[in-house]
Structure formats: structure tokens, C-alpha cells
Symmetry: C2
Subunit: 205 residues, 2 copies
DNA sequence: GTCTATACAACGATAGAC
DNA sequence: GTCTATCGTTGTATAGAC
């Protein structure tokens, strides 16, 4: 599960020690710090002590490296979400906890916000990834709201599909507003509170 | 002196006479096509038939060009919105019309979605612009929802500020989902319908 | 003022040697 | 598996022609 990152292997020769996992770790960190487009392969490579063609041997392109980072990040988030569900938490609670966790990692939030927007372009290397991801996230929300509807808890006139899309949209849109107020903590919107307000709005009165 | 830079595309207007407005026009179009970061100054310059240092004489940097493009786009949208209001349309109708207009210009939508995300980074050249823009848009929505509240039309327990932020977030978030389904028109969410559903959800039952 | 020409450092990517 | 060397392209800066 957890990759042993940053533990320097002993040996007289510092170079040639970079593994796939070490590169992934450094890339995720740098992407989170400065964003995908600003980050350079040379900088990632330098952080793990190899040349940038050396890095490209493990990941054939910058886009491939990005894809690998996204997949790993997703696995971590998904595991935490499923663990919350398995621990008996409701869908709403588990979702709120994901949001709250992200609030302490602005770098990753910015990475996802920027990427999901730039990946809307059909030619983008992460386009298919985000299409699949949105379908998964929306579908899960649809399932939840279908349960609400069956129990009479969904607002009349609102179908589960629309409720799901609106809720996912609120999360994405609030991320932008949250990120844009990084330098004004007082005016910063509360992501979890916004989610609760939205869930309340789509609920039956 | 004829400038021979650029490809002989359309002989509509005389080459070598590129004005600020022509550059702005070409830049807006290219940014909308491929995004800000992918677009190159050389390509913009080529489209108006000048060299790229020639372009830099009018706009000292790529960021300055971007700022000018955003300001002009905003003026156009703002004028249309105000014209709708002046024509007696309600706020909700005017807002819906902006959305519907944008649905026919996916390039501009993608430009704004991408930019508002990448401009969340404090060092981005358009950071201040988007901060100001969001404050303006949210404030206008707050004003509208305060009216709703005073007339008893706002959902109880929901304050105008939160309702405004949620609504703006829905518009931004739905744009992502809309753009991501560009290659599947059947599954494409209806932006205007989503806005109406959201406004319905924040309304008093 | 309006431009062309040229130079520069940094980028992603490739080729080929150990 | 990792290196050095190199390619084409980018944003930017400067010099200088009209």
C-alpha cells in the first residue's frame, strides 16, 4: 500500500537508485506545489537524483507520469472513502470527510481543479481519465439519491440524476471559490458547510 | 512595405496593418480553441500576419494579452446582461440567457473554465482578475437572493450568501461536466435546465 | 510608434552509447 | 536502466530599420 518514500538506499553511488515509486512520489509532491504545467520533468528527476531522460525511461511522457499520479491519488482517496463506508458511516458523512481531508491539502485540490478543467479538452492526456472519474462519482451519487427518492427524502420534482449532477457541480465549483480566496482566510467559504447546505436544498422539505 | 510574415490565409484585409483589435480578436479565438497555455504568441502573431515581437509591442507579455482578452470578453457579456435587465427581464432570465448564449460558444466556455481553475494559483497573471470577477458575480447573486428572502421565496434555513455561492458553484461545476461530454451529445447535461433546477432547490417549497 | 530580426534559456522529447 | 547529446518550440529581451 504505502510506498516507502524518501528512504535513501545505502551505497557509494547516489545515482541510478530511482524507482518508479520514488518518481511518482516526487511528481505528486511537485505537481501539488506548482501545478502540472509549471512543473518540469527535470525538476522531478533532480529530486530523485536522476537525469530527465532517465525518468522518461519509467514514464514515456509527462502525460503518462501525470496519469500515474492521478491513478495513485485516486486509489488512496477511494480506499479512504470505502473504509469510511465499511466503518458504518453514511454516504453523506463519508463524502464530507473526503472534503474535509482535502481542505488540508490545497496543493492536491488545486491540481485536481486545474486538471479537471484543462482536461475538458478532448486532446488532453487526462481527458479519458476525468471522463471515467466523473461518471463514477456521479453514478455513485445517483445511486444514493435514488435511495432518497424511494424513501421520500428527495425534493419533489427533482430527479436523482439532476440532484447528483448538481451536487458534484457544487463541490467542483466551490473548490474554485475556495482556492481563489487562499489569501483571504476570513472570506473563505466552508466547503463542508456548503456541501451540507446543498444536500439540504435537494432534500424534501 | 508589405509584411511577409505569416501564411497567406484570407486576403480579406490588408496584411501588415494589424491593429490591437485584430490581435485581441485572434488571441481570443485561439485561446478558446486550444487554451491559454497551449496557445503560442507566434501562432497568434501569424494569424494576424505580423511577427511575434511585433505582437509584443502591443502587449508586452503573454499575460498582458490574456488580461486584455478577458477584459474585453467581460465587457461584452456584461453589456448583454445589463441590456437584458434594462429590457425588463428578471435576474434569473438574464442569467439563463447568458448560459444559453455560452452553450453555442464551447471555446469561450473552455477558456473560462480552464482559466478560472489555473488562475486560482496566487502567482497567476489572471489571479486578481478572477478574484474581482467572482466577487462581482457572487455579490450580484447575493443581492437577488436577499430580495427572495424578503419576499419569503428563499428556502428557510438558507442564507442569501450561501445560496449565491452554491448557485455560482453549480454554474462553474456544470461547465466542467458539460465540457467533458463534448464527444457524447446524448449524455450531455442541459446547462440551463440545471440552473433552473438549482434555483428551484434553493427556493421556498 | 510600428514593426523585423536575432538571441537566449528552459522545456518535452528522442537517439544512441555504456 | 541510465547516461550524454541534441532537436524543435516556447516566452522573453534587445537592437535597430522605417
Amino acid at each position: 500500500m504505502t510506498t516507502e518514500a524518501g528512504s535513501p538506499r545505502s551505497g557509494g553511488y547516489a545515482r541510478g537508485r530511482a524507482t518508479r515509486a520514488e518518481i511518482l512520489d516526487a511528481a505528486m509532491r511537485l505537481f501539488g506545489e506548482v501545478g502540472y504545467r509549471t512543473a518540469s520533468l527535470r525538476e522531478v528527476a533532480a529530486r530523485v537524483g536522476i537525469s530527465h531522460p532517465g525518468l522518461l525511461h519509467h514514464f514515456p511522457s509527462k502525460a503518462a507520469l501525470l496519469a500515474a499520479v492521478l491513478e495513485r491519488r485516486d486509489e488512496v482517496d477511494e480506499a479512504a472513502f470505502q473504509a469510511d463506508l465499511a466503518a458504518g458511516h453514511e454516504y453523506v458523512e463519508a463524502l464530507t470527510r473526503v472534503i474535509e481531508r482535502n481542505a488540508s491539502r490545497p496543493g492536491i485540490v488545486e491540481l485536481y481543479a486545474t486538471l479537471s478543467a484543462e482536461a475538458t479538452s478532448p486532446g488532453h492526456p487526462a481527458h479519458a481519465y476525468f471522463q471515467e472519474r466523473y461518471r463514477r462519482v456521479v453514478d455513485r451519487a445517483v445511486g444514493e439519491f435514488e435511495r432518497w427518492r424511494d424513501e421520500g427524502r428527495l425534493r419533489p420534482g427533482l430527479d436523482p440524476e439532476t440532484a447528483a449532477r448538481l451536487t458534484v457541480a457544487v463541490l467542483d465549483g466551490m473548490q474554485i471559490q475556495w482556492l481563489l480566496t487562499a489569501d483571504a482566510p476570513d472570506a473563505r467559504p466552508d466547503m463542508a458547510a456548503a456541501l451540507r447546505a446543498q444536500l439540504n436544498a435537494v432534500q424534501a422539505p
